[in-house]
């Protein structure tokens, strides 16, 4: 049992190497961690500022310089956003199934912080010589996450959509996706963002018969498939997801975009 500390499920502590502002109060937390350097795009870590709760975060950077992107929405994420280079965080993971690259002409649809999980996927695609089309959606131009680095990576492959029309397409990323899908042939769709948006994109993908992968969010606590807090149909999002393919999404169509469990295990409506 030597080496148990290097097991993904064990808690390990690393120091943040740097913290970057990403606009809209969001922060990228960078760190070095051997396991995260070998992560798969779409996987997540459990990250812990010991002053608050441990929370799940998709890896927004994979490699020697690993990172997560944090939007301050509650006590734990605010505590993470308040951290500085040199501070210690607890890490477990990376956990779950990430994206599987398929097809030759992929469309990536990111809404809000969903860009965090799709960015390493786009990097992997570019490294393989593919030219992905990436729709980056947000409320307004100040909330367009990691726009600079995505532009450098994708050039003209990066398209933006803002609800208020302050940058790029005026309207939802899903509406923009619908228009693009009528103009151009895509053979794979990847999406991460608000669930209502992903459910819309899934409906479009199904209409056109294009396989899709979506990164879903549920209330993840243990991250190893034991506690049941993130149940979705027959799946545990923490272990069987967070990325699900079309076949699985069809299986959970009564819940996807509609119902989710709250922290007590009660089924509630999906609101965003």
């Amino acid at each position: 049992m030597s080496g148990w500390r290097t097991e993904a499920e064990a808690m390990r502590v690393v120091r943040l190497t740097r913290v970057e502002e990403e606009g809209g109060g969001m922060r990228s937390l960078h760190f070095e961690d051997e396991r995260c350097s070998m992560g798969v795009p779409g996987q997540y870590v459990m990250i812990w500022n010991p002053a608050a709760e441990e929370v799940p975060m998709s890896l927004s950077g994979i490699g020697k310089d690993a990172s997560v992107l944090v939007r301050p929405v509650g006590e734990s994420t605010e505590a993470l956003c308040g951290m500085n280079a040199g501070d210690k965080v607890g890490l477990r993971g990376p956990f779950g199934y990430g994206y599987t690259i398929q097809g030759a002409s992929p469309l990536l649809v990111a809404g809000g912080t969903g860009a965090a999980s799709l960015k390493p996927l786009a990097e992997e695609m570019v490294a393989r010589g593919m030219k992905p089309t990436f729709i980056l959606g947000a409320r307004d131009k100040d909330q367009l996450l990691m726009k600079g680095s995505l532009e450098r990576l994708l050039g003209g492959g990066l398209l933006t959509a803002t609800d208020d029309g302050s940058h790029g397409f005026r309207g939802y990323a899903s509406t923009y996706a619908s228009e693009l899908m009528n103009e151009k042939m895509f053979d794979a769709i990847y999406t991460c963002g608000p669930e209502i948006m992903m459910a819309t994109v899934f409906r479009l993908a199904e209409e056109k018969g294009i396989p899709m992968q979506a990164s879903l969010e549920r209330y993840i606590k243990c991250a190893v498939g034991l506690c049941g807090s993130c149940g979705l149909g027959p799946y545990r999002v923490c272990k069987d997801g967070p990325v699900f393919c079309s076949e699985q999404l069809r299986e959970v169509r009564d819940e996807f975009g509609k119902r989710r469990m709250d922290p007590s295990g009660r089924s509630v409506r999906v609101t965003h």
Partner: protein, 251 residues
């Protein structure tokens, strides 16, 4: 809601958890139990109450929902400080068992804790209270401290140890209880393979429970272990599980 994260961490030979029994309440499960029964699935409801009276009330709700058996959890180490672990005391264990038994319409199983001086005393109390079976054991209370952070990892400070490290403790408890009571025992704690399960049956368990093994293996582990037990029985000329229950105790 349960405790806040971290609520689970992997430790040497197992996992330490302090979920704190998050749940939406028994009434919430009435519909689900009905659905499962409708599909022909046997349902054992494992439940908890903060007092003897609450155990009785929850037992009524679950019984009316039509469960096939009730498992009385008097042994969760992670709610002990708020609510008192009733199963640490033989008098309370007997009272809770009696109260549930009075209102139950199906067999009553009492799940015991290894965090006691003499588990046989508690098992006998459950039997006196009318328990139809005993589950042994719940998790073993433990602690994980991080050397870098210089603090406990779990928000609840202590947690319950499950997984392979718990197995020898569980086997010992099953063994001792088997020699102390007449009712059947459901063995639980660290069973990860069919071999573990067989060892538990040989120690005196008539059935086994498996939880933490699903962390490594996924849900397939349940089918694999059942298949493995069948193979062991066939290979060794046993006609059924009953023939090996307690066999390690000798004549």
């Amino acid at each position: 809601m349960g405790h806040s994260n971290p609520t689970l961490v992997s430790v040497e030979g197992g996992a330490l958890n302090a979920m704190g029994l998050p749940n939406p309440g028994a009434e919430y499960f009435v519909e689900t139990i009905g659905e499962l029964k409708g599909e022909g699935v046997p349902v054992v409801a494992s439940f908890f109450g903060g007092s003897v009276e609450e155990f009785r009330e929850v037992a009524i709700v679950l019984s009316e929902a039509g469960v096939d058996a009730l498992e009385v959890n008097v042994s969760c180490p992670n709610v002990a400080e708020e609510l008192g672990m009733l199963g640490a005391d033989p008098v309370n264990t007997e009272k809770v068992t009696e109260a549930v038994k009075e209102v139950a319409r199906s067999p009553v199983i009492v799940k015991l804790s290894p965090n006691v001086t003499d588990i046989c005393e508690i098992a006998r109390a459950a039997e006196r209270g009318g328990a139809d079976a005993i589950t042994a054991v719940n998790t073993l209370k433990g602690l994980a401290v991080d050397a870098d952070l210089r603090r406990p990892i779990l928000t609840n400070v202590t947690g319950g140890l499950s997984g392979p490290a718990l197995k020898p403790v569980a086997l010992r408890c099953v063994w001792e209880i088997y020699e102390s009571v007449e009712v059947p025992i459901i063995g639980c704690g660290g069973i990860s393979s069919w071999r573990d399960a067989v060892e538990c049956l040989l120690s005196g368990a008539a059935a086994v429970q498996i939880g933490t093994a699903a962390m490594d293996g996924g849900f397939e582990v349940y089918g694999e272990i059942a298949e493995g037990i069948r193979g062991y029985l066939a290979e060794n000329g046993f006609k059924g599980v009953k023939e090996i229950v307690g066999l390690a105790h000798g004549g």
